[in-house]
Amino acid sequence: MFETDVLLQDLREILGAVPVTLAMALAIFVFSTIIGSLFAFIEYRRVPVLRELVIAYKVAFKGVPMVIVIFLAYFGLPPALQFLLSLVGIDFNAHLTPNWVILVIAITGCIAAFQSEIIKGALNSFDTGQADAAHSLGYTSSQLFRRVMFPQVVVAAIPDLTTSMMVIMKALSLGFAIEVVEIFAQSQLTAALNFYYLEAFVIAVVIYMVIAYIVTQIADRTERALRIRS
């Protein structure tokens, strides 16, 4: 039956995994946003060949479950990396790549496809009349981007970027499949030690929901603050 005595101890142990998870999530968020912006820019500007490649990439990564992408990266990346490095002439045992690096790369690859969609949507919501106005005032393209487009696009993208941050947090839970210890894997380990499974998982559920609540609150506040200024 449900044991309430172990809850506090479980909470302490599982909370220990929160900083690592948040750090990995932030790293993935930054990388995937950079790659996603690149993709969105390619699609926005309609660069000939690259555009088709980006679309193919997006279709491939949206059709395949993330667990399978993670496993493919886990088994495929080290040999591929070693092969590439041996071509350049560096002797490096890529099989020693830590698992968390592989997890970060795999999830970045998946999320980048969605980030690019979000950023493309934000770019499309930009009113082109403003671009014309800026051009008529003699703005260069970089000035136009920096002073007119970027501030508006960022504000328009905040709600969606918050959701993708939550998706990254949840995607990291699949790390337990390749032995990366984050919140979910830690709750499994804790449960395996004292055999109170449901208790540990309930604690993990509470932690995830609290993190989601905090992230949403922060995003709402920033959005409100930025909207007033613009």
Partner: protein, 238 residues
């Protein structure tokens, strides 16, 4: 690795995957309808509980939801005085239904709210009852707005069925693991590639079906209704 023996073996596990998918689809749809109705109508205490359920379904990883269902259901069953009869497959169905219901309710609610307020007023002024209003005026428009989001949610449901292996249901993924272990784990990368193709095909079929309905529903709409800017949620859901 022999593809000609591996693929039939993988397909032999496909029925279970499909059964879990369809159960979660239909039960989740009903749950989402109930949840959306309660959230839109704002019944005092119940609405807060439904909000909590939706945020549980949306902010907790699906693996964790499956594990909670797997360990929590037997407890619930015993609490009501029955013998523990919950198998891994049943737990997977319940867990995924709860997840899908919560996710889908976040697709349905914006779709319902996106229907113009004037349409409600017009229906009310013509003396339509709530049921008539839903079935004849608001419903069809909301379906058109919500269909792309619904397609996404079905695709993510198919993706997440790949996770039921971890609570011990014998689906396609679990069979693939058996095959890999029988080959002394030599062909793991190749086997996962085959799995990726199978899942992509399943998603493609689901997407084509939804696309067919999207085109069909577009016929019933007036020009103004189709011009409503709709923002489809294109988020991954794990």
């Amino acid at each position: 690795m022999d593809l000609s023996t591996m693929i039939p073996e993988l397909f032999s596990a496909l029925p279970l995957t499909l059964v879990i998918t369809f159960t979660a689809m239909s039960v989740g749809f009903c749950l989402a309808l109930i949840a959306t109705t309660l959230r839109v109508r704002r019944v005092p205490v119940i609405s807060q509980f439904v909000d909590l359920y939706v945020s549980y379904a949306r902010s907790v990883p699906v693996v964790l939801q499956l594990f909670v269902a797997f360990y929590g259901l037997p407890l619930l069953v015993i609490l009501f005085g029955f013998q523990d009869f919950i198998t891994a497959t049943m737990a997977a169905m319940v867990g995924l239904s709860l997840y899908h219901g919560g996710y889908l309710s976040e697709v349905m609610r914006p779709a319902y709210l996106a229907v113009e307020r004037g349409q409600h007023d017009a229906a009310d002024s013509l003396g339509y009852s709530f049921r008539q209003k839903m079935f004849r005026i608001v419903g069809p428009q909301a379906i058109h707005i919500g269909l792309p989001g619904y397609g996404n949610s079905i695709i993510y449901l198919i993706h997440n069925v790949a996770l039921v292996m971890y609570i011990g249901a014998a689906d396609v993924m679990a069979t693939a693991h058996l095959i890999m272990e029988r080959d002394y784990n030599q062909f793991q990368f190749e086997t996962y590639l085959v799995l990726a193709v199978i899942y992509s095909l399943m998603c493609l079929i689901a997407w084509l079906i939804i696309r067919f309905f999207e085109l069909r529903f577009a016929v019933h709409l007036s020009k103004e209704a189709t011009s409503i800017p709709l923002k489809t949620a294109a988020f991954a859901s794990v």
